[in-house]
């Protein structure tokens, strides 16, 4: 007498109708895991860029980083200048010019890399006008732009370690304040300018890309 035991865990004994649904579940899980891994890894590396990407026959690689160097200011009408800590001592007359020069100590290495520079003064007093430009070795590599306007440098080729100067020229409506001379000077004599933010973004343009880089100067 042959003994026959039915074992549900034995795949050979399963019916095809029961076996089919188990395969897609594992596939979905793997795909989701892969997607999550890619998403997380891209966030982690976003702030410190170093990559190599292939587009057709062209290989582009590089590294970019920058930090702020010395910050200076000047007022041509008063023929005075200084570094940032002393800017709050500058008494600006109406219609006078404030020039801020900010060193950018940068590392821009790569082939055919384009960088979009921008400047933001989010809290300037109402009515302030001005422009900014970028210098390298005393030569303007980005011509004067509006305060909230960004611009693309010419392509960076090879190693571009060094110092750039970003100069902002501001005309601030610093109206005169009348006070009682017998009283201490009121806090309202101060004009907050807010923070000064420089942004740099890699652009996909120019050689090897479909979009041309806009002329910066």
């Amino acid at each position: 007498m042959t003994s026959y035991t039915r074992t549900p865990k034995n795949r050979a004994d399963r019916s095809p109708c029961r076996a089919l649904p188990t395969r897609p579940r594992k596939g979905i899980a793997l795909l989701a895991l892969a997607a999550a891994f890619l998403a997380v890894s891209s966030v982690v590396t976003f702030a410190l860029w170093k990559t190599q990407a292939t587009q057709g026959a062209l290989t582009q690689s590089g590294t970019m980083d920058f930090r702020l160097g010395e910050s200076t200011w000047s007022c041509p009408e008063q023929e005075i200048s200084g570094t940032f800590p002393s800017l709050d001592q500058l008494v600006l007359q109406p219609k006078q010019t404030l020039i801020i020069r900010q060193e950018i100590l940068g590392t821009f290495q790569g082939d055919n890399l384009a960088i979009r520079f921008g400047v933001r003064f989010p809290s300037l007093p109402e009515g302030t006008t001005g422009s900014w430009h970028l210098e390298r070795n005393s030569v303007q590599i980005i011509s004067p732009r509006g305060i909230e306007e960004s611009a693309i440098t010419r392509d960076v080729v090879g190693v571009e370690n060094g110092t750039w100067i970003l100069q902002a020229t501001l005309s601030i409506p610093a109206d005169v304040i009348w006070v009682d001379p017998s009283q201490p000077v009121a806090e309202s004599s101060h004009i907050p300018l807010g923070i000064f933010t420089i942004t740099a973004e890699q652009e996909r343009c120019g050689f090897g890309f479909l979009d041309p880089c806009e002329e910066s100067s």
């Binding site: 795909l31 590396t45 990559t51 500058l90 006070v179 101060h190 923070i195 740099a200």
Partner: protein
């Protein structure tokens, strides 16, 4: 089959996430910011003070301070000098402050009091001269004082980047002469013998009077002080 259809959107989402992250993977972006920055605006201050009022400017308009009842009463209470002239000395202070390299000068001009008033009786124009402190403003100080001619007074020089403050003290002397009546009383009579005699004229027999308008209705007399900024001040 039904489960396959349910799984399809999940797979699609996973692919989109994977492709999207790959697209931004190669783009580099950063931003650096300065600490909060600030500058200062030009501070201008100009005021004129007397013993009973202070006027503070909020524009370049001239400031007008006044004298009147109080000074007229003081003048009459003090009385005349040897020449029969009534005098009163009143201090006036001019304070100023500037910054941002702004220079500031000014003019101070006491107007002639109304001839029908106590301070203007007799038509003598007031005099003004500088003093070191308000306490130095006396009638005696007017003698030999360097009288102000009425031109521009130098205040704070231009080109000072930090705030500078200064106060000048002045003394204004009003002089007035009332209608003066002098009489000497004498008595004339005859003695019993018919001789004509006259009483001697001495201090006790003389009297005088100075006639002034009522000081309690004294009109205001104006002193005009005008700030003047140098050409380097964009006010």
């Amino acid at each position: 089959m039904k489960r396959l259809l349910l799984a399809a959107p999940v797979v699609l989402l996973a692919v989109v996430l994977a492709l999207g992250s790959t697209t931004t993977f190669a783009l580099w972006s950063t931003a650096v910011s300065t600490p909060p920055l600030e500058v200062q605006r030009v501070v201008i201050g100009f005021s004129v003070s007397t013993t009973h009022e202070t006027k503070v400017a909020n524009s370049m308009k001239p400031l007008e301070t006044t004298f009147g009842l109080e000074e007229a009463d003081m003048m009459l209470t003090t009385g005349p000098n040897d020449q029969g002239v009534f005098t009163v000395a009143v201090p006036l202070s001019v304070s100023m402050t500037t910054s941002g390299g702004c220079g500031i000068d000014y003019k101070v001009t006491p107007s002639n009091p109304d001839p029908a008033s106590v301070l203007g009786h007799g038509g003598i124009p007031p005099i003004i001269f500088p003093v070191s402190t308000p306490q130095e403003c006396t009638i005696e100080a007017a003698k030999g004082a360097n009288l102000h001619s009425g031109g521009v007074v130098a205040g704070i020089g231009h080109g000072q980047p930090v705030q500078d403050t200064r106060t000048d003290h002045w003394c204004i002397v009003y002089q007035a002469k009332g209608q003066n009546y002098i009489n000497t009383a004498t008595a004339v009579g005859r003695t019993q013998t018919g001789e004509l005699i006259t009483s001697p004229a001495d201090a006790q027999s003389s009297w005088s009077a100075h006639l002034f308008p009522d000081p309690w209705v004294e009109p205001s007399t104006v002193v005009t002080t005008t700030p003047i900024f140098d050409s380097g001040c964009p006010i």
